[in-house]
């Protein structure tokens, strides 16, 4: 693979580079992953704890 900038105007951009260049996709994933695995999962566990009987 060439990392050089030749006259590569028409050179195909690799898939990973397209992914890394897509800041807003990264933003969406970067928010969704912790919110699902840390926040929602954690809060669901707390919500499902049995309440101490009065």
């Amino acid at each position: 693979m060439s990392g050089q900038q030749g006259k590569g105007e028409e050179e195909r951009v690799p898939m990973w580079q397209l992914f890394y260049d897509n800041i807003f996709l990264l933003l969406a994933l970067g928010v969704a992953i912790p919110v699902v695995f840390y926040t929602l999962w954690g809060v669901m566990e707390l919500v499902n704890l049995p309440v101490w009987p009065k």
Binding site: D21, L27, G30, P34, F37, E45
Partner: protein, 504 residues
């Protein structure tokens, strides 16, 4: 549609500098240093109280100073500086105009009003709740309001960063992918969004609770949501610090990463996984399951740790390659011996990498396991760890980049060069002593956030190993050195901004 904007061309770097962006960078950086000064004053008071030989403050003032220290340093100093970094990385490094500078000033005003409100409430004694403000500790509603205003301001600033990326791409002010430093700043900005969202979710109901509108806030739920803010906010620092490492590598010795793809991959690992590790703050909390803890800390955290190790290798490697290219090829270490140790930015960069990587990294990873966490939880090992990361790492890196911001953005020659040369060493050595003193005292079971480890006057007195007094003495002396190093930094920056010789 073209908007008339004012640009100047930097004579040193050839970068096109958008003047409204430059003014915002200046304002945020100056205010950051003011909050740093408050934090340093409080650091001295707190450290001189935790050093048993001095035991300076009474109990009430100790907790007030500790609250002020944590918040002014960790939140206000760091985030004001980071907003400046975001504007710099987007508008200046991309040769672009900054999106909506007026909104930038609104963000600045919100952050300033919020932080001012918080500090006033702390000073009035209405918010002795420490930076975590765990419920049921209750502060005045205006304290929470201040935090919310600050967070909203920071969110607006972060949005301007993203908007500027869009403008720069549309106007084609750069070619190909974002430069690596900007990509690192984008990582910080993405993590900031997670941070601020959790902040809003937790501080708004807590404010209503302190106003008496909501009756009860569950302590466990508070902790989960608060650490959704508390942990990621530290990862903003990590990402911003590493972006600055790459920047300083380039500025000080002309370093270029050997393989940028690897560096970018490491940043992407941060984006995807680092925030799951918030769970490491809750490893001794009873409400959440082991499955949740192990998934979020082990599997996810190690991917993020891997990323840090990658950066910790690629930055020094790029420096070595750059030095060898200059002809310093004798033996294994000539490149290191002939490095510009008298350049305060290079000294700060190197110390930042070593302190963050070795002391911060090693101490931190161990606490991330349940078995060790239960021993170290709430002991001085914890502040021992994060003074290596956020102080020896992030704060030193910010100091290092300041020595370039002063001539390039403020266009003033740094005053007192001789003192600037020793400043990073003084601060670095001091903070290493603080960090190690705390870490080892913590291994002897000494609590963090504790006014009197001897429990004088209590019915039962715990045995305190005499070694602890030595260790806390090391911490105390280190604290004095670090405070001197910090004051030197403040004097040099303020002196330069006010009286430095104009350049360009």
């Amino acid at each position: 549609m073209s908007v008339p904007t004012a640009f100047r061309t930097c004579p040193t770097t050839g970068l096109k500098v958008h003047l409204p962006a430059e003014n915002l960078i200046k304002a945020n950086a100056v205010v950051a240093v003011v909050f740093f000064l408050i934090g340093v004053a409080m650091a001295l008071l707190v450290a001189m109280t935790r050093w048993p030989a001095v035991h300076l403050l009474g109990d009430e003032f100790f907790y007030r100073a500790l609250t002020a220290h944590g918040i002014n340093m960790l939140i206000f100093w760091i985030i004001f500086f980071e907003i400046a970094v975001l504007y710099f990385a987007s508008a200046i490094l991309l040769n672009s105009r900054l999106a909506a500078p007026k909104l930038g000033w609104l963000a600045f005003a919100l952050m300033l009003a919020g932080s001012g409100l918080v500090d006033v409430m702390i000073a009035l004694g209405k918010a002795d709740v420490m930076m975590t403000s765990y419920v049921p500790l209750k502060a005045h509603p205006l304290f929470y309001l201040g935090m919310i205003l600050f967070a909203v301001g920071a969110l607006v600033g972060t949005s301007l960063f993203f908007a500027t990326l869009v403008i720069a791409r549309r106007d084609r002010t750069y070619e190909g992918s974002l430069p690596l430093v900007v990509f690192g700043a984008a990582t910080a900005a993405i993590i900031a969004v997670v941070t601020i969202a959790h902040g809003a979710i937790i501080y708004i109901p807590t404010m209503l609770w302190s106003m008496g509108i909501i009756e009860h806030i569950d302590a466990s739920t508070y902790r989960i949501l608060w650490w959704g803010l508390g942990h990621p906010s530290q990862q903003i620092n990590v990402a911003a610090m590493i972006a600055i490492w790459y920047l300083l590598g380039a500025l000080t010795v002309g370093a270029k990463p050997i393989n940028e793809k690897l560096c970018r991959t490491a940043f992407v690992l941060y984006i995807l996984f680092i925030n799951l590790a918030s769970a490491h703050h809750l490893l001794v909390d009873p409400g959440v399951s082991s499955t949740w803890k192990i998934w979020n800390t082990s599997y996810a955290m190690y991917l993020a740790v891997l990323a840090s190790m990658i950066h910790g290798m690629t930055v020094p490697a790029s420096i070595e390659v750059a030095q060898r290219r200059k002809g310093y090829t004798k033996g294994l270490f000539e490149w290191l011996k002939k490095a510009p140790w008298g350049n305060p930015s290079f000294a700060a960069l190197t110390l930042s990498i070593v302190i963050f990587g070795f002391i911060g990294g090693i101490t931190g990873v161990t606490f991330g396991t349940e078995q060790i966490n239960i021993i170290s939880h709430n002991t001085l090992r914890i502040p021992g760890h994060f003074h290596a990361t956020v102080v020896g790492g992030t704060t030193l890196a910010f100091m290092g980049v300041t020595y370039y911001v002063l001539p390039l953005i403020f266009r003033r020659q740094v005053v007192a060069q001789a003192l600037a040369k020793i400043q990073p060493y003084l601060f670095g050595v001091g903070i290493v002593m603080v960090s190690l003193g705390m870490t080892f005292a913590g291994s002897y079971g000494i609590s963090r956030r504790h006014w009197d480890i001897t429990f004088a006057g209590a019915t039962l007195q715990p045995a305190v190993d005499p070694t602890v007094y030595l260790l806390l003495g090391i911490m105390g002396i280190g604290a004095i050195l670090a405070v001197l190093g910090a004051l030197l930094y403040i004097l040099i920056t303020v002196g330069t901004v006010l009286a430095g010789k104009k350049t360009g």
